[in-house]
Amino acid sequence: MDKEQLIKEAEKSIIDADKAKAEELAKSAIAAGMDPLEVINKGFSVGIAKVGDLFGRGELFLPELILSAEAMKVAADILNASLPKGAQKRGKVVMGTAQGDIHDIGKSMVVSFLQANGFEVYDIGRDVETQKFIEKAQEVDADIIGMSALLTTTMSGQKTLIEELKKAGLRDKFKVMVGGAPATQRWADRIGADAYGVDAADAAEKAMKLLGEK
């Protein structure tokens, strides 16, 4: 299978939520000496972005979304592990959903995209106390803290995170990214966040920019 065909197949395996196929293609890509990041970015990531779009349009449903995300994770894990040392981890990100907010589909997609793009991600889950974001970031010496919120009632947690970081004298130590349905670039600017991701792919792009890679 040539590179172009493999990349197309990789995209399709995620849309079809075919975990076995995704795994096989990831291994084939490594065996053929292809650039793992190129396979992720042009193949698997394109597939998961399409899955997210189809879900957002009501053309694909949650069970399929979960299965696609699983297939993506298997492929991304295999390809990330094959990255040459030094290039292996772009940076460390602590990701979670704001306190009081149990919605984590969007956050999990961001985690998948970040992992697929070579970040070491610490997913601390949903409905997480603000202080836990800070504790985890200190514990793992993170570069970025990402907080997602789906509700207008929980998005204030993103503001609280930045205030708490300032109080603790840690604001300059970590970059803060925010996202979620009610969040906007204006909201991010207003609360003093370093970046806002409109969707998972954008979040990964912004994370790279924050670390000066783009």
Binding site: E59, L62, P63, T184
Partner: protein, 348 residues
């Protein structure tokens, strides 16, 4: 060229040129048309929307004689939410005598059928009192809210815990179990309140928990309508399409996941719904013009496909209204006028 004062979907003020507003209107209607596979707004409709946004008036209204019914949902909880200390009866009287409500609704602060069933003995006498002191049709309403049937709040396993573990069939089975509990509670509360004199029952924010939530409500409506053929049943939706949390549920042979308003109303009507309220989510990253054109496109198709009255949801975060605690009058009045004059709906 003079700029047009408008807002983004998060309520922030923005000044756009006429061509920018026009472009947003075109893109908003195109987005709705592509998603729901319905016709976009006509050139004439777009031009009327553009005029609406160009109008410098702070608030706008429909022409005299074109007023529509104002049906309020969740009426007795809204004043309390903004810390105004009034009782349920006082809230209803304010809606009737100060806000011009044509239909009103009483509900409990929890606003879900499950908790409401335990306090029917408190709700019934208050409702009877309310009927004695108000004139407009009075509904009793709450949300189906299937989320309350999962552990630790309810008896069923949580599909949101099962799905990430890859337990798809278990997640589907638990949602099917939740449907049975929810139908029982909605029929119980609906029956008691109707027998207490309610002019109608409202199922508000239907399908918030996805296709199972929608199916449970359709089934409850069907049962109530068989039991009380004269009952007025209002169904207000929670979003523009039915989220496929289960993904395989059907009603009358139609797959529920992914249905848009013009298809939702067909099933609601079959089940026995008397008034249908489509809800279209506001995108905070787009302008009010984009959101309004989009919301009107979905709603217009719903109206054209319906034999029952359509009372669209126009409030915080839905129908093109910005996501702000107190929706700004310039946006709300524009959306309302557009919905009535272009969407041709029957009520708000």
């Amino acid at each position: 060229m003079q700029k047009i004062y408008t807002r983004m979907g998060d309520g922030s003020v923005v000044e756009l040129s006429e061509s920018e507003v026009r472009q947003d209107l075109e893109e908003g209607t195109k987005d709705a048309a592509e998603r729901a596979k319905i016709p976009p707004l006509s050139e004439d409709d777009l031009q009327r929307l553009l005029e609406l946004y160009k109008c410098p008036d702070k608030s706008v209204g429909v022409e005299k004689g074109k007023e529509v019914i104002l049906s309020y949902d969740s009426g007795t909880t809204k004043f309390n939410r903004v810390n105004v200390s009034v009782s349920k009866l006082q809230s209803l009287q304010i809606y009737e005598r100060m806000l011009g409500a044509d239909t009103m609704e009483m509900g409990h602060m929890d606003y879900s059928y499950k908790p409401a069933k335990n306090i029917m003995w408190i709700e019934q006498p208050v409702f009877e009192q309310a009927l004695l002191v108000t004139i407009p049709p009075l509904f009793y309403g709450a949300m189906p809210n299937l989320g309350l049937y999962t552990q630790p709040d309810g008896p069923c396993l949580n599909p949101m815990e099962l799905l990430p573990q890859g337990k798809i069939s278990e997640a589907r089975a638990t949602q099917e179990e939740m449907i049975e509990h929810a139908v029982r509670d909605m029929v119980y509360v609906g029956s008691l309140m109707y027998e207490s004199g309610a002019d109608g029952i409202n199922f508000d924010t239907t399908a918030a928990a996805g296709d199972a939530d929608f199916l449970a409500t359709l089934r409850a409506v069907e049962i109530l309508k068989k039991k009380y053929p004269q009952m007025c049943i209002e169904m207000g939706m929670s979003g523009e399409f039915i989220l496929g949390m289960h993904g395989e549920l059907t009603y009358d042979g139609v797959k529920l996941a992914g249905l848009y308003p013009h298809k939702q109303v067909e099933l609601a009507e079959k089940a026995g719904v008397t008034i249908f309220g489509p809800a279209v989510n506001t995108n905070t990253n787009e302008s009010c013009a984009w959101n309004t054109a989009r919301a009107v496109t979905f709603t217009k198709a719903c109206v054209e496909n319906s034999n029952i009255p359509i009372h669209a949801n126009v409030g915080m975060g839905v129908g093109g209204v910005p996501v702000t605690e107190t929706p700004p009058v310039d946006s709300v009045s524009r959306v309302s006028k557009a919905m009535v004059e272009i969407g041709r709906l029957d009520g708000l």
